[in-house]
């Protein structure tokens, strides 16, 4: 197996005093999906920023094979912008295209192929803001694919989606895993995390990293502190989130 992402002792942050993340030691192979689990403000997005090279690194090392692409939550994008699904997918090719001429045929083909990979070729001409939440999420994944990224970082891709849309996005991720990409998915959902190949639990520092079996009650409590409750009967852990506005 080829390691696409390796970090050792990764520590970084924006402010002068506190670290946003520390002690991050992970190793992600091609064809693996890693669920990044943690509370709001626990460092999931900061970890992604560190992998993108945007978070000031204080110590440790990061090694990444190939390009990395970030897929944000859909509500971060402007829904009123007059861009089609194809336009958005093509944005993944902008950095490679010469500025002085029309987007090359190869770039447009790459954008079309990316939309096809996420099952949205038929919606290429539809305005991004007129797509459903799940379709928008898939278009943003297509943009990352058009960037020819081998490592995908997805920020809560299933958040706010209905069950059918979430399942469709889940199938797209499973297909992408088969193409040999490494996929890191930030999530709050412990059930989703149990479906991944590996799970990273963080709360400003790494709590645990390993197969889904690391998700025992003790690890979850250390990850979420007092925010975790356990439903009677099924024994499923549910996280009570504090939303910061």
């Amino acid at each position: 197996m080829t390691a696409l992402v390796t970090t050792s002792g990764l520590r970084g942050g924006y402010g002068p005093r506190s670290d946003a993340i520390s002690e991050i030691d992970i190793h992600v192979d091609a064809g693996q999906i890693v669920a990044v689990l943690g509370p709001n403000g626990g460092g999931k997005t900061s970890l992604f920023r560190a992998l993108l090279g945007e978070l000031p690194r204080r110590s440790g090392a990061v090694e990444i094979e190939g390009r990395v692409a970030y897929v944000p939550q859909t509500e971060r994008a402007r829904l009123d912008f007059p861009v089609s699904a194809l336009d958005v997918a093509a944005m993944g090719t902008y950095a490679d295209a010469p500025w002085y001429r029309r987007l090359p045929l190869a770039s447009r083909r790459r954008a079309h192929e990316s939309l096809e990979l996420v099952g949205l070729e038929g919606e290429a001409g539809t305005l991004f803001g007129e797509l459903s939440g799940g379709q928008r999420q898939r278009v943003l994944i297509a943009r990352a694919l058009a960037r020819e990224a081998r490592v995908l970082l997805l920020d809560e891709p299933l958040g706010g989606l209905d069950r059918a849309s979430a399942s469709r996005v889940g199938r797209v991720l499973a297909d992408l895993k088969e193409t040999g990409r490494a996929i890191l998915v930030a999530t709050h959902d412990i059930n989703d995390a149990q479906e991944a190949d590996r799970v990273l639990c963080i709360n400003r520092r790494q709590i645990a990293y390993g197969p889904p079996s690391v998700l025992d009650a003790e690890t979850l409590e250390r990850t979420y502190g007092g925010e975790m409750i356990t439903l009677p009967g099924g024994g499923k852990a549910v996280v009570v989130q504090h939303h910061h506005h």
């Binding site: 692409a69 994008a77 402007r78 007059p82 861009v83 336009d87 958005v88 993944g92 490679d96 500025w99």
Partner: protein, 277 residues
Amino acid sequence: MPWPIDPFSLPFMQRAALEIILLAPLAGVIGAQIVLRRLAFYTHAVGTATFPGLVIAGPAGIPPALAALAVGGTYAAGLERLGRVRGLGRDVATALLLVAALAVGIVLASDVFDSGSGVDRLLFGSLLAIGDDELLATLVASLAVLAAAAFFRRTWIATGFDPQVAPALGLSSRMADRLLVAAIAVAVIAAVDAVGALLVSAILVMPAATARLFTRSVVALELTAIGLALAEGVGGLLLAFELDVPPGAAIAVLGGAAFAVAATATALAGRAGERAA
């Protein structure tokens, strides 16, 4: 020659029309970015900020475009600095500096240089008195801004759509954003001669805002805004010629009317579509 061609046989009308033709591409390409990136207030503020520079230019013997560029550039830099003050916000900083620039301009015009009726010309433009120097300045400014747009247009669109992700797409969004703000300042200064410090939005915002109501792609928005800027500019010139009113104001009135018609039509079309569905 029949109306409406006849008035354009006069040299000053030809120069005014040429000025509109030179400004129209800016109205399309930069106007689209202003509307999409919600920079209309900034655009208006930079226009107003050039006022003290224009007041000083005449008596000091400085080319007006250079004075406007110096003051507009200082304003943009001051805004960048003040906008970073904690708890202030960019719109508050814009408003503060706008009022300060306008007040300094008025004091200079009334008490220092005694500009008299020239103030009207500075604030509302003098399209019918455009000279060859002003045309040349507009041509140079337009070429510079369009060159910047050619280089950064895709980055501007990707950054406007999703500001946080643009760097992860390999795009230098911070530099592109700074260049967009600078390009708007240069476009404003190019338009000041035609429509004055207070009415630059008539050229750079109104056509694109109107086009935004019914276009579904950035290219369509840009092309429609160019067409509207030409139509409103030439129509405003004719209005000004026939009714003996200031051309800048006539263009702004036409732009406002076009926006009102487009807004009403799209609202009615939207309601009809809802009923049919």
